[in-house]
């Protein structure tokens, strides 16, 4: 198992747990579900929600990698690969646009906002993690 797999499985675990919890909440709902009382457990999210924590870490990695400090790690190669870094900056900058588009797409096909955020958010976080690790691996000359 390489480092990126560990990050991805944390996101996957949180996403699947979250989807399961959304199913439970929807079924227990008094107006749209079967109105089953005492079925939801708020402590469940605190115990098993790895998505929020790992997403924050990955966004922090994204910011660190695309920032000037992150790029200056490879100062010897900066002149040679300056166009590559520009492309990386554009790619990282496009994630906010992609998030909005994906969420709107999910809501247009009838998904609830929570589910849309969960599914497309986790997909985007996984993509960011893979790209960040590709960048880091190319700089560190090892597959992380």
């Amino acid at each position: 198992m390489i480092a990126r797999d560990w990050i991805i499985v944390l996101v996957l675990f949180g996403a699947v747990s979250g989807i399961g919890y959304l199913i439970v909440v929807d079924i227990a709902n008094s107006s749209t579900g079967y109105d089953v009382g005492n079925m939801t457990d708020d402590a469940y999210q605190a115990r098993y929600d790895t998505l929020t924590d790992s997403s924050d870490e990955i966004y922090r990695m994204q910011t660190a990698t695309s920032s000037k400090e992150g790029m200056s790690v490879t100062s010897l190669f900066t002149t040679m690969f300056s166009s590559t870094f520009t492309i990386i900056g554009i790619v990282f900058g496009s994630f906010s646009m992609a998030t909005t588009t994906m969420n709107n797409f999910g809501q247009d096909i009838g998904m609830s906002a929570g589910l849309s955020n969960l599914i497309f958010g986790s997909i985007l976080v996984i993509i960011i993690a893979v790209i960040v690790f590709v960048v880091i691996s190319s700089v560190s000359r090892g597959r992380l």
Binding site: I23, V24, M39, Y48
Partner: protein, 103 residues
């Protein structure tokens, strides 16, 4: 006329739901055994079709998760067993990913 039964859940059995209620009362935790047994049976069935343990376990745990939520909705099992099945499903997805990713 439906037979009267000595039970607090329902006065008499009139269909599948009331029969299950009766079974759950006279044999507590019966449906947990049903879930666990189905998990094993589905895993063995899917394993004969799938080419890896992780795929078979992910498929079988998904069915068990859905079934456990339905059982909880009908009041046959406790909350914790439903949440355990959701967590097992999440773990199965993790296993599936690790199994399919190159090492």
């Amino acid at each position: 006329m439906a037979p009267n039964l000595i039970t607090n859940a329902t006065n008499n059995v009139t269909g599948m739901y009331t029969l299950f209620q009766y079974v759950n009362e006279v044999a507590p935790n019966f449906f947990i055994l049903v879930l666990f047994g189905l998990l094993v049976i589905l895993f063995v069935i899917f394993r004969s079709r799938a080419d890896s343990n992780s795929k078979a376990f992910a498929a079988s745990s998904f069915f068990i998760m859905i079934l456990s939520i339905l059982f909880r909705t009908m009041g046959f099992i406790d909350n914790k067993w439903m949440y355990i099945s959701i967590t097992v499903m999440a773990g199965a997805v993790v296993w599936l990913h690790l199994d399919s990713s190159p090492s």
